[in-house]
């Protein structure tokens, strides 16, 4: 953007305990969507930053996913807490989309330990209308509709709030699988399924 104002850079948080890189093409896909639908200045390439590094504080929106047990190290927990306390937002997505799965259990435990207990996010929350309108709440993923995983369509996302603002957003709808494809393949979709990803980014940048 312009003179030297920082562009928005999509950041994947790398944590030590699990398979943090299980959705490698998701960042490029969301970057493509942000550039396609908005005039937000977005960096063309995403970054991967260790959550244990102070560099993570330069990226106020951090995306994390995985299938395996999810645990923060002490330095990861300290940085994650600092990022949220200073006004940043963390988006964690369960790549398994099963409510009894190991990622879900351990991630919710870790979120509770680090940030406080997450609660169901109302489906009329501002994040569902920050750019595209999702009047019914979080859009269902094809994996949910196909009956994979726990065979459930999860009605709500979970969130830890800082006043009216979401500081930690947790999904077990498996957006990581839903959005993990090359952006060129969007042309084969009648409705772009990454639109809710745009909402998450616009929400993080404006609230």
């Amino acid at each position: 953007m312009g003179w030297w104002l920082s562009d928005f850079t999509f950041c994947t948080g790398r944590y030590e305990s699990g398979d943090w890189d299980s959705a490698p093409t998701l960042p490029a896909n969301l970057i493509d969507s942000v550039a396609r639908y908005t005039d937000i200045a977005v960096a063309p390439s995403a970054v991967i930053v260790p959550l244990s590094s102070p560099r993570i504080l330069g990226f106020p929106l951090v995306y994390m996913t995985g299938h395996l047990p999810f645990r923060f190290s002490e330095s990861e927990r300290a940085n994650a807490r600092k990022l949220v306390d200073r006004g940043g937002m963390i988006f964690i997505d369960d790549h398994n989309h099963d409510i009894g799965g190991v990622f879900h259990k351990t991630a919710v435990e870790e979120i509770t330990r680090t940030f406080g207990k997450p609660a169901e996010l109302r489906n009329d929350h501002a994040i569902y209308k920050s750019f595209f309108a999702f009047p019914d709440g979080p859009p269902a993923t094809s994996h949910e509709l196909n009956g994979w995983g726990d065979n459930l369509v999860h009605k709500n996302l979970l969130a830890v709030m800082d006043g009216p603002r979401i500081s930690v957003l947790y999904s077990n709808k498996d957006y990581s699988s839903e959005w993990n494809y090359h952006p060129d393949n969007k042309r084969f979709s009648s409705v772009d399924n990454t639109r809710f990803g745009v909402n998450i980014i616009v929400y993080a940048l404006t609230r």
């Binding site: 312009g2 003179w3 104002l5 920082s6 005039d39 937000i40 330069g58 200073r86 920050s130 404006t206």
Partner: protein, 424 residues
């Protein structure tokens, strides 16, 4: 008349006669004042003599021997004598001291106390409760911001002081933030809301799509105290913003916004292409603090300097004020700074904005202030002069008391003598 029969009666007659003569002299002095009687037109007096001076007919000239600045009441009395026709001058020593208290135009309140004393002195600031601060004066006015104070604030130098009554809190309207969706706009709004400012925002997300926060309305001084333009997206409203500023509103222009030609008439100066200055050991943060130096123009005032370059500057535009920033990425201070970075970022933005905002009302009760007693003394009695000759009476009142005492002793002696010898 029978002559005294002995020396005792001669003594009684002498006492009575002396008393009568003294009474006559006193009557004469009352009818014909000292300067008329002696030919001198100058009275050297102290401020404590003001009551007795006022009981006399108007002296032609009065010189007050001072060892400090008279109180406001005493100066008013001196001024009354001057208005009545006396020439008033003064000699001695008094410490020049002055103070101004202005409320900070911020939801967090506080006062900016600006004190002045020309000499290299220790100046102490006090309010009605305790000492607020102290400062070493070096011939220049100095300011300090205090979060709260009670009653009057007083600047004390030696035995002299000036005081200012604290005004009511200012009333501040809402702030309108205009910018593109991004970390800078988000964290500027966050910081200001944390500081208590009421924010409306127009955040551009896509062509013809903006996220509005609050109840965005017409940009005028009835609705907003200041506008913060964070980037070129504000240029589409530049005409309304210019009108707003000229009618008394405040404007904070980030470096990116100032680069827009739409703000050419409002900006302090056109940002140049100078290399950015990155200060890794900056005081506000250890984060990157890159900025584009502002080139001050003739009517601008530098507000903040970093590394010898102007980082923030302000200027007046008609009735309004414009504060131009050399910064664009202040959000990094908050996210990547030290342990206090959140409060430092919040305070920096709140303080910077408070220098631009239009505050709707400041009620100052000047009648109960004495902000500059020394200049008031100069206004009444001029600059100090060399002390006049001490041969002139310092106190007419004390002399009169002495004379009355002597008369009383004489008459009492005469009466006692007569009673002791059995006379009527």
């Amino acid at each position: 008349m029978r002559l005294p029969a002995n020396r005792r009666e001669w003594l009684e007659l002498l006492l009575r006669g002396t008393a009568v003569v003294l009474i006559a002299v006193l009557g004469f002095r009352a009818l014909f004042p000292a300067q008329a009687r002696t030919g001198s037109d100058l009275i050297v007096a102290r401020v404590a003599d003001l009551p007795s001076l006022s009981r006399q007919s108007t002296p032609a000239r009065i010189q007050f021997a001072l060892d400090g600045i008279p109180t406001a009441v005493q100066r008013a009395w001196q001024n009354a004598l001057k208005s009545a026709g006396s020439g008033v001058s003064w000699s001695g020593t008094a410490n020049p001291v002055a103070i101004v208290a202005r409320p900070v135009a911020s939801p967090q309140g506080g006062y900016t106390l600006t004190a002045y004393s020309p000499d290299t002195t220790r100046l102490i600031l006090r309010d009605n409760i305790s000492t607020v601060d102290s400062m070493s004066m070096k011939g220049q006015p100095r300011s300090v911001v205090v979060p709260m104070a009670s009653g009057n604030v007083r600047a004390v130098v030696g035995t002299d002081s000036a005081f200012a009554r604290l005004s009511d809190s200012v009333i501040i309207g809402k702030i309108l933030v205009i910018g593109k969706a991004g970390w800078e706009s988000k964290f500027v709004m966050t910081a200001l809301e944390e500081a208590g400012w009421k924010i409306d925002a127009i955040i551009s997300v896509a062509p013809n799509v903006a996220v509005a926060q609050g109840s965005v309305t017409t940009i005028d001084t009835a609705h907003y105290a200041a506008v913060i333009a964070l980037d070129e997206s504000a240029a589409t409203r530049a005409t309304a913003i210019a009108s707003f500023v000229k009618s008394g509103g405040g404007l904070v222009l980030s470096d990116l916004a100032a680069r827009s030609g739409a703000f050419a008439s409002l900006r302090v100066s056109a940002p140049g292409g100078a290399p950015h200055t990155s200060i890794s050991s900056d005081t506000i943060t250890h984060a990157e603090a890159a900025f584009s130096p502002i080139l001050p123009s003739g009517n601008s005032v530098p507000l903040e300097e970093r590394g010898g370059n102007v980082a923030v500057a302000a200027k007046r535009v008609d009735f309004g004020r414009v504060v131009q920033l050399g910064f664009n990425d202040t959000w990094k201070w908050r996210m990547q700074g030290g342990a206090e970075s959140v409060s430092e970022h919040r305070t920096w933005w709140s303080n910077t904005l408070s220098q631009a905002v239009r505050s709707r009302r400041v009620t100052v009760d000047y009648a109960q202030s004495d902000p500059s007693p020394y200049t008031n003394l100069i206004d009444i009695a001029g600059h100090p002069v060399a002390p006049a000759s001490p041969s002139q009476p310092l106190s007419q009142h004390s002399n009169e008391m002495l004379w009355l005492t002597v008369i009383g002793v004489l008459l009492f002696g005469e009466w006692a003598s007569r009673r002791l010898r059995g006379a009527g």
